[in-house]
Symmetry: C2
Subunit: 317 residues, 2 copies
């Protein structure tokens, strides 16, 4: 490997993915961790350092910089993680702390902004003047590109599509709001819908899995749906329906050329996106609804990690 | 008046406001029309020309350019009004047609983008890197500023906050979608809520107005609310509540420094904005919710007209 490699780290609400990435965006070593091994801020920082060090030892050449995508509002000027719903990162000066502990330049951005950077510069949104990204995982992360640039907002808080209310009097969200898109469309929502189906329909694939002692998760729903299980397909499609309502809002608000959908839930592929596209075609404004492409991430579940690596490369370019 | 004046025209869903505007943004002559005098596209264009000519005759000096804000998606490259929910402007090449008929350079933009330009360059959002505007009238228009520039989207369709769904299974909107913010928060929504109160509560101010043969409108609701009528205040506050849900979404999506609220309904002032701010404080994400100012337009109901004039000035600057 050339001397030009960097490490990208995507810290999700439950999972951590790190990788050694070269200048051609080839990923050479992947490291997985459970994010929740770190219960407090200090333990979480230790998990991050350990993951980076494991990747660095596996790398053939020098690691020139490290980028982190974190599920938090990140102040772009200071690299401070201000708030996060899912992890203990409140007011942590992540950029400075990690630069000191790792001894290399460090970039920090919101995980979904990092994914947006990867997809806009090298992936499914290349060339778009206006684009949006939604990553469906434990929660929903989001990114925005307008006039060719990632929109971070006044203080790094832009792009939180997951906390866009689509049901004003709907269920209480972890953020304190009601009826957020994240409550209806994330991987957590998919797992919840699957678990309800398992109880309500004991003869279904979900019901049999439950009886066999399996965990009823969003991943199981995706797996059964791909196998043709009709109940699982309905559950995935119902998530796709509300995803379509959310993307319809994105279309009306931004008039993007492309909406990119990533995160673990995109493993469902067209079983998720086809119902979403149908809702957008029916409900969003013309001609914006006819001009938008709704596509999966090019980098699959690795967009955030690769985007974090791209941000790290920018530091040493 | 100097030779440098222009005419700005704000075409709303029901009203048209034109004005002769000088370089210091002083408005010298105002012309009002009912937009719906023009039933088809040709009649509507005649109404626009007549309004401009009336203003031009009243102007002391030469009118160097004319700007139009229209309640339509406008392609920024061509000045074609693509689609409108409220008026017959579908696929009308407004910029070219008006330039030919008026004999001066013509600027055309979405009415709410025009208002956003006025408020960002000279009004309540001066200096903001990231801002949003909602104009509450017959419908809801919207504008976005990111990184200091008005965001128009891929084809001029950005900023349609009025057609952001906040009640996924809510009432059918004129656009074909369900539960759009416009169905719950526009002047039309305010008038509808007032009319329902008039019937339900015959002893209320609304009920007495109805018995006296008055039209129960949003404007009456605002008037009674300012007079201290408790039912009218509740009606305005309930609109303010859903406005707050909508602005909470704006805050989570854009992390703006300021959200500017205009249109006819802003005549209710703090009776509308105080309940909206309360909802944003309770439901939007920290720290974005604490960083945002929620304020009325500086130019009141004239933001769109003045913004159209500013766009016209840009043509001859």
């Amino acid at each position: 490997m050339s001397a030009g490699c960097v490490i990208g780290v995507d810290l999700g609400g439950t999972k951590l993915l790190a990788g050694v990435v070269d200048a051609d965006l080839n990923v050479h070593h992947r490291v997985f961790r459970h994010a929740r091994e770190g219960k407090g801020p200090d333990q979480l920082l230790d998990v991050l350092v350990a993951a980076v060090e494991e990747a660095r030892e596996a790398a053939d050449g020098e690691v020139r910089a490290v980028g982190f995508g974190v599920p938090s509002l990140v102040d772009p000027a200071t690299g401070v993680a201000n708030t996060t719903v899912h992890l203990p990162l409140r007011d942590v000066p992540l950029k400075d702390v990690m630069a000191e502990r790792l001894g290399v330049p460090v970039a920090v951005d919101n995980d979904a902004n990092a994914a947006m950077v990867a997809e806009h510069r090298h992936g499914a949104a290349v060339g778009a003047s206006c684009a949006a990204l939604l990553t469906l995982g434990t929660g929903i992360g989001g990114g925005i590109v307008a006039d060719g640039r990632v929109v971070r907002g006044a203080h790094g808080g832009a792009g939180e599509w997951g906390h866009m209310v689509i049901a004003a009097d709907g269920p209480l969200c972890t953020c304190g709001n009601r009826g957020c898109l994240e409550m209806l469309v994330s991987g957590t929502a998919l797992g919840r819908a699957a678990a309800e189906a398992a109880v309500a329909l004991p003869d279904s694939g979900f019901g049999r899995a439950l009886a066999a002692g399996r965990s009823i998760t969003g991943m199981l729903a995706t797996e059964l749906a791909h196998d043709g299980d009709p109940v699982a397909r309905d559950v995935v499609a119902s998530i796709g329906h509300y995803l379509g309502v959310g993307i319809g809002n994105v279309v009306n608000i931004l008039n993007p050329e492309v909406v990119v959908v990533g995160g673990g839930v995109i493993a469902a592929g067209e079983l998720l996106l086809a119902p979403a596209r149908k809702v957008v075609a029916e409900r969003a404004l013309a001609p914006s609804r006819d001009q938008v492409r709704i596509v999966p991430t090019r980098f699959g579940d690795a967009s955030g990690m690769i985007g974090a690596a791209v941000l790290a490369m920018d530091l040493v370019a």
